[in-house]
Assembly symmetry: C3
Homo-oligomer: 236 residues x 3
């Protein structure tokens, strides 16, 4: 109990900036907890503890029962505000949230905008993710949007930030064609198809945000596998 | 304990799409829990458990006390972000959140936009709800907005989606007048008054989202009583 | 236990308007809890309770363990949606969230817009807060924004709402200069510098929202110290 109180005391020092003076306790991968909380309301499966019989047949501590209610209420309120938040400039697909900025930028600035916000440019890795992006581009009605991927001269092909090979593509017919010899970036059309473009062109900015996104908002997302997918592999 | 662990194991299988592989445990109607959590900060009434005396005079489990703190902190953070989220394109009235899309659509597309977002077109059922909608229409400065209600030839009057009769109206003087013989939809003016319009006209899209909205985002909201009100009646 | 159940019964009466019929239980200042929950995911330090050994070496109640998981999951989901919400029209600095409205108003209307939303005009009290505001003004690309401060004829200087003296300033060279004799309000430039302006001018509306903001949305924020800072002093 002294250990827990000491930790709480350490955690309660007023930080000069967020993150200062915070002790990190070890934690397990938490993908399973994301599953529990992001289901639709009908799938919130919490035992009904109301001071009477619990799921285990025992009398439940009324404080735990009251706490269960508070948590359930928070989950429901949170689910409502998730829907409100995503309307109309966001889409959620599994662990990923795509959100449109409403303005256009050249690729490098677009990349920075997303990084500063704690996200990254979109890396659609499936038909479902690509379709969600397509919907956003249509709704926003501000032209095509940049994706995260760029042409790597070293690899001789398009890759995700960090160099990983593409696991899904949706190039328009005859693309990428490097028209003009300087098309190292990728845009997504309102029909969902991809086309290579010069990175200096201004395109609609959409960012993707992961449930267990890595911290450090003011840097481009770390190299490596898609953070939204990485959490799933960590589970094993 | 084995039952609970088994349920947790079942709940932690990676879903291919959200909602798969989730076991639903029985739950009571939860309106009272929404009440507990959506009050203003001054009304968050949680016992102060800090490892010492609980409200019942007993020594509290320090883990429960720590958990209470986490839940309280989440409630406070959530309340702040609710306010941030609603500014400036949203309004909350009781269980309902109205949010403006910022664009205009004909009625049928507007209906689909709201359904896909997990909400529906607004059904103001009281002066308070109507006033909140009016404020939004004024703030958005994008013309009048569609309401959910339509003229039913069968009933010979305007009804909510699903056919229920209107419980509140705020028609402008001499409206509805079916001007032109094809005014089966309803718009709300910046002064809050209603007028019937052709459904093919483009109007500002505003959607309403309920705390306990039914799932299934990609379908028009089920027929029946207002889901935001239905939760209240379920309580009894 | 009877007391707790009675409170829950009182709290579950259907309110005609939010806040009615709610009993307020006493609560401690909660700044330390905000620290616990608003850190980046890597700083969420909750003991790992999974039905086995707890941090204290004892066997944990499986219901408490399950509840910990739910709370952890909610924290993670909430952190993701915080990032999504703030992109692109918001910035968070410590306890404060700044959010831009996207439209311009004269000072008095801007003040009312923020008050009705449960916030207030921005009072940047540090370089960090001012920098966050500057970023927003740049991103919004809608001209300069009003700050909360006004010239008090009584005091003969600019003050915060309520009369407190400024603790931080960032006036542009030679400002404030009361050009025209009627410059009692303050705007912030895209370079972050301040200038005094007539209050009747229309400027971009940005509001600030505090974690423990006082209730009562439809009134201008109470006089007194910055509510975002007040919570910190209450801690002692």
């Amino acid at each position: 109990m002294l250990l827990l109180l000491s930790v709480l005391v350490l955690l309660t020092q007023p930080p000069t900036s967020w993150g200062a003076n915070v002790t990190t306790l070890p934690q397990k991968p938490l993908i399973e907890n994301c599953t529990l909380v992001t289901c639709s309301p009908l799938e919130i499966g919490l035992p009904d503890l109301d001071g009477k019989e619990g799921p285990l047949g025992e009398k439940e501590d009324p404080d735990i029962a009251a706490l269960w209610r508070q948590v359930k209420a928070l989950q429901i309120a949170f689910l409502q505000y998730k829907k409100v938040e995503l309307f109309p400039h966001g889409r959620v697909v599994g662990q990923k949230v795509f959100k449109a900025a409403g303005f256009q930028k050249p690729f490098q600035e677009a990349q920075q905008v997303c990084a500063q916000a704690g996200g990254q440019l979109p890396s659609p890795r499936s038909e479902a993710e690509n379709h969600a992006l397509q919907q956003l581009v249509q709704v926003e009605d501000k032209g095509n949007a940049f994706l995260s991927m760029t042409f790597s001269k070293v690899e001789g092909r398009f890759t995700y930030p960090g160099g990983e090979s593409l696991v899904y593509t949706n190039w328009a017919p005859w693309e990428p064609n490097n028209d003009g010899g300087n098309e190292h970036c990728v845009e997504i059309f309102t029909n969902g198809k991809w086309n290579d473009r010069p990175c200096g062109d201004k395109r609609l900015v959409i960012c993707e945000f992961c449930a267990l996104g890595l911290g450090g908002a003011a840097k481009v997302q770390e190299a490596g596998p898609d953070p939204c997918a990485a959490n799933m592999t960590r589970k094993s």
